[in-house]
Amino acid sequence: MLTGRFGETTGRPYLEGRVIVPRFGIDADVSFLVDTGADTSLLSSTDAFDMGIDYSLLTGETESVGTAGVATNFTEPASLVFIDPGNYVYVYHVDLEIASPNPDLMYIPSLLGREVIDRWRMVYDRPKSTLSFTVRSADLTLRI
């Protein structure tokens, strides 16, 4: 089982995982906001900067619609990694959206979208501070 958390000050649901971007040889750990309203996962520009992604090398520019309007992103093949501590490592191959740098959106977290969430069973119990996920499928499952 995967275990997430609720932010104390915001109450937002988070799950930590690892992002691997093979083309750039990058692997970095990220706190994802669990977002069932997101069609796909999105790497925030802050996390992209922190992990050293070179925007000049990104291609695959796309437009996505958010509540604040249309945003420009880049699409990059990547893998998202989550752990069932002491038991399994689960890997998901995705077309990761990478947010373009925007000073007004620097505080938006990375989003874990439905292309991954749809492969889990989620328990969201804020009164009991329980956020957990049972994995139904993964692209790779590795025994720890």
Binding site: R5, F6, Y14
Partner: protein
Amino acid sequence: MNDAAYEARVLELLGDPKEVDRDLRAFQADASLLSSEGQQFLARYPKQWIAIYHGAVVAHEITLLVLTEKLTELGVPRGRAVVRYIDNEPRKMILAWLGRSRGND
């Protein structure tokens, strides 16, 4: 990169599952401090970027660029620290992210 080559590269970058387990548990514990110590961080580091690594705030700076440089100086591996902006005027976020799928449901 074909599928087999892609997967081989992912496994190469992933490394030993035991190390992934150890590293991600440490990262989760660091991120949990944002939850458990959120109010203290708000009082100590308002409007600053902070980095948490191995259970402690190892750097706090006004800009993300300077914070990243500081982490490099400290020898913190890139992508292993929890980096967050401590906003003393938290913004309400209403997020939805509609990507490439098209539909009218």
